[in-house]
């Protein structure tokens, strides 16, 4: 079987398996939090559309960007290798006539699509609930797809990182949590080039920026949540995110091919 066909078959297998796990149900429910928030905000701020868009960007995008996609990628990315070892099902995969890298690529791609679907549905519902009064405004859709694109890139980059981590470490989830919710949350606020050592810096650089004045005085405080020090240009940000994704996946594939994974006894 060719490498591409093997990746496709692994992708199909884990797209199917991924949908059936309890983990997916839990995370899909987690995706209802911003939807519920959107409903509440819509009721509370009814008729103040500009402020609503700002609030959405500043609060809900923080949820999506710095929590939801990170936790999704952490659990799905590390599980690409770890769950096969913990459940001892790796045997069923590595005794098949497929190149080992196809397992990493196909499974991480399947999980990335699954995560993107969960994030997409959650984003679409919460975004359009909040902006229901402006559905005829074409800018609304442009911004939505920009958000979606940024979150998609985030899912890819974080999944690649955590897949790599899962291929290297036995307890990748702990290190992953420190990275995702420690390093990423802190380092992005460091001035100078240090902030560029975080994935979230490049993702934030791609977001539409609402200065604190947008939406009047009410937007000022929440703008700090998406505070950007020195954004990277969009093209450079996209290229760096793509390079990070490709590089880490290539490393994960190489490691998975040469490393021997033993079960715990």
């Amino acid at each position: 079987m060719t490498g591409a066909n093997a990746v496709r078959q692994v992708f199909g297998f884990f797209s199917f398996l991924g949908r059936k796990t309890g983990k997916t149900r839990v995370f899909a429910i987690l995706g209802l939090i911003p939807v519920a928030l959107a409903v509440i905000v819509r009721i509370v701020l009814h008729g103040r559309g500009g402020l609503m868009a700002a609030v959405f960007t500043e609060i809900l995008m923080v949820f999506f960007l710095q929590f939801y996609i990170v936790i999704l990628a952490l659990f799905y990315g590390t599980s690409v290798t770890a769950e096969e070892i913990e459940n001892r099902t790796l045997t069923y995969l590595i005794t098949r006539p497929i190149p080992k890298p196809a397992i990493i690529l196909g499974k991480s791609a399947a999980y990335a699509v699954l995560m993107f679907a969960m994030v997409g549905v959650s984003l679409a519902l919460s975004y359009f609930i909040m902006n229901a009064a402006r559905l005829s405004d074409p800018d609304l859709y442009g911004t939505f797809f920009r958000y979606l694109g940024v979150l998609g890139l985030g899912i890819l980059a974080y999944t690649a990182f955590f897949t790599f981590l899962g291929a290297v470490l036995k307890r990748a989830i702990i290190v992953g949590m420190i990275f995702g919710f420690g390093w990423e949350n802190v380092i992005q606020y460091f001035p100078g080039s240090t902030q560029k050592l975080s994935i979230v810096h490049y993702l934030k650089s791609l977001l539409p920026y609402h200065p604190p004045s947008v939406g009047g005085g009410g937007g000022r405080g929440v703008a700090l949540l998406l505070f950007r020090l020195e954004p990277t240009t969009p093209l450079a940000a996209i290229l760096i995110l793509a390079a990070v994704t490709a590089g880490l996946l290539a490393l994960a594939c190489w490691l998975f091919r040469v490393k021997e994974y033993l079960y715990e006894d």
């Binding site: 079987m1 069923y92 006539p97």
Partner: protein, 308 residues
Amino acid sequence: MTAVIAASHLSKWYGNVLGLNDVSLEIEEGITGLLGPNGAGKSTFMKLITGQMKPAIGSVTVRGRKAWNDPDVYQGIGFCPEQDVFYEDVTGWEFVTGLLRFYGYSRTEIRERAARALDVVDLTADKDRLIRGYSRGMRQRVKFAQTIAHDPDILILDEPLSGLDPLGKRKLIKLIKDFKKQGRTVLVSSHVLPEIEALTSRVVLIHQGKILAQGDIPFIRELIEAHPHQISVRSSDPRALAARFVGDRSIHKMTFGADGRTLVVETHKRDAFFSRLTGVVIEAGIAVEEISSPDDNLQAVFEYLVGK
């Protein structure tokens, strides 16, 4: 006959623990039984053959090709792991069809092969049930179905009979024997001698990572016969029973248990003792309450062979 699987000075460590030690072995077509107590190195050997592990020293080849990291080798191998592990949230049908995807078959062929394999193991009626809800025997059978579904010419079966009821065991033994008739190669492991005996006469004894002996069953039986067996007989009159056996040259030693009702016999010829015992108890009218063989297990035989 050409070796299908060949191991040459094969060694494997798990950190400081030795899994396999300088194993050189050739496995030919037909059924070969890998017999050894738990932890002997059987599974390690099988994992090396199926490319799940990399040899620390030496090599293992399947039809002349190194097994580690060569997907083409795995096309012709069907592996049945010992562990009772599955993707639990899928049905038997989804499990078998899902794994068949990795062989490059068309959808129609996948369905046909899965249906055939599940039919062979008598799981057609339960194929749409979640594996999570399967009994131990059904789980063992669906594991075997995924092993044979792609029609491999080499079967590596790690303790395939464990967890099966007597009927299931008999059926699987027949199936494995059918594979042999088709000219395939089967390597089957077990720690139970009668299971291996029912499958093949060609046996490899493995213990503490080393090949202790290899040959046919009579040869292994001879080795086992050389090891004195302890047989404990609890009866109404152990002294009368002992008196009947005093002149028997196959008896090595006789002692009485502390309860005053047990006779412990040490013999090199276990089968001969049992056949004589039947006649003696009938003749003398001794009521036998219990017969047990405290050391009559493979572990004792292996320990004896190692210590020899």
